[in-house]
């Protein structure tokens, strides 16, 4: 676990620095996808999440859309994949995304179209390898992460 400008970057996740999403490899070849700490900080308190279960999305296309109290935007996939399911906990508590973006606040589980994709070759960074590009990105943005501490995200 490492921090850059108060933003957390767990050691066991893959990061798409440009798109600000993380991936975790699941047994069986699936991937769990979520928003990074900087992404949820930029958005502010998230009040609604819509995951496109069943959708096949190309790299950069949205697998979900999120609405914070003041912004709406898509959450893209780093690789071509089919959306298996969304995180059911977010339906009643979208604030989990702000409070625990790498744990209970995961967004969706996806199945890559290509078997056993080489995530490094796709430009993703694993764990501490993401720290250097994030240090530069967050420095340019002047962003420091903030986590919401309280309840149900309204």
């Amino acid at each position: 676990m490492a921090f850059v400008y108060a933003c957390e970057f767990p050691d066991h996740l893959w990061f798409d620095v440009a798109r600000d999403v993380w991936l975790e490899e699941l047994p069986g070849g699936g991937l769990r996808l979520g928003m990074t700490d900087p992404a949820v900080t930029r958005a502010g308190r998230i009040v609604h999440v819509r995951v496109r279960a069943g959708r096949q999305a190309a790299p950069g296309q949205g697998v979900a859309s999120v609405e914070s109290s003041k912004w709406v935007g898509p959450v893209p996939t780093p690789l071509e994949a089919r959306v298996l399911r969304g995180n059911p906990l977010l339906a009643s508590d979208p604030g989990l995304l702000n409070r625990d973006p790498y744990g209970e606040g995961w967004l969706a589980e996806i199945e890559p179209v290509a078997a056993a994709p080489d995530l490094r070759a796709l430009g993703l960074r694993y764990g501490t390898d993401a720290l250097a590009p994030y240090t530069e990105k967050l420095r340019q943005e002047g962003l420091n992460c903030i986590r919401c501490a309280d309840g149900a995200g309204q």
């Binding site: 440009a18 600000d20 992404a39 900080t41 930029r42 958005a43 502010g44 009040v47 609604h48 819509r50 859309s65 609405e67 914070s68 109290s69 003041k70 912004w71 709406v72 935007g73 898509p74 943005e141 002047g142 962003l143 309204q154």
Partner: protein, 354 residues
Amino acid sequence: MRYLDFGTVSAEQSQAVYHAVAEELRPGDPITLITVSPDRPYVCVGYHQAASREIDRAYCEEQGVPVGRRMVGGGAVYLDHDQIFWHLVMPGGAPPVQAFYDRLLSAPVGAYRDIGIQAEHRPVNDIVVGPRKIGGTGAASIGQANVLVGSIMMDFDTKAMARVLRVPSEKFRDKLISSLDDYMTTIRRELGDGAPTRETATARLVSRFSEVLGERVEASALSPGERERLDHYAQILFDPEFVYRQEGWLQPGVKLKDGVRLYEGVHKAPGGLLRFIYRDREGVFDDVLLSGDFFVDPPDALQRIARSLLGRPASEEVLRLLLEEGLAHAAMPGVGEEDFLQAFRAAKAIEATV
């Protein structure tokens, strides 16, 4: 800064235009400002809202009021020719939301001040004149663009707005109209006959955005690609399949401005039907209307209880305490403290189905 003066166009095109420009925007393209008004009134719900819960669909269809869904968040809004909508479409990834509003809302605030209205930016994204909000703003990432949208409120028809929304009762609708009057303002209301023309207000806005962005204004027109996407979005954003899709975000109450919502709860007590309408301003009972079809003695007992709540925290604990006092001096056969609490809970509850 590229500027598209889109003038007055159809309701569908007025909503579609910024979606089209955003989708066509590529990294390195110039920032585009659009100003536009619809040629007739229409209603628009937020991207994640459950439209069937927010909108009186039957009324809108009877009256020929189009209903659309935008790809920007927030609540259902009524839009007409008295509002000049502006859309700023910028290349780049998702921005830090607060900083985005802080920087860019200084332009519409400056434009209001130029015409003699002491507007201020109230974080996160309200523009207010004293206690009242003047127009709304919102932001979204669409394609590779960030979009900031807002309106210059020349005038606003609060009755028409209240009529197109799906509300629990006509009493609630009346309270909604008075609440909109309490919490919203317009250029006409602030300046009366001294209000500037639409053209002057628009020119001030464009000039202020040019200053804030530090870029010269370059008048432009839609590209062929944007024109094609405009037609596409004008169709899909108003397609009932898209507007009334069977999912959405349910929230209790009607938002009047940041921190102010209007609620209604109804409860069937043994003695009759109890209706509890209240306005919550930052956690406080701001306005309360209690009514019922049961016997009450003295006749003004419900009004007295309602008055006792004003200015007090809008919580069950406070309500329970004040009800004990209020009901001690009143007779309401078949209606007790627990019935009032049930009506209050019903007002705050989110409906389980769309």
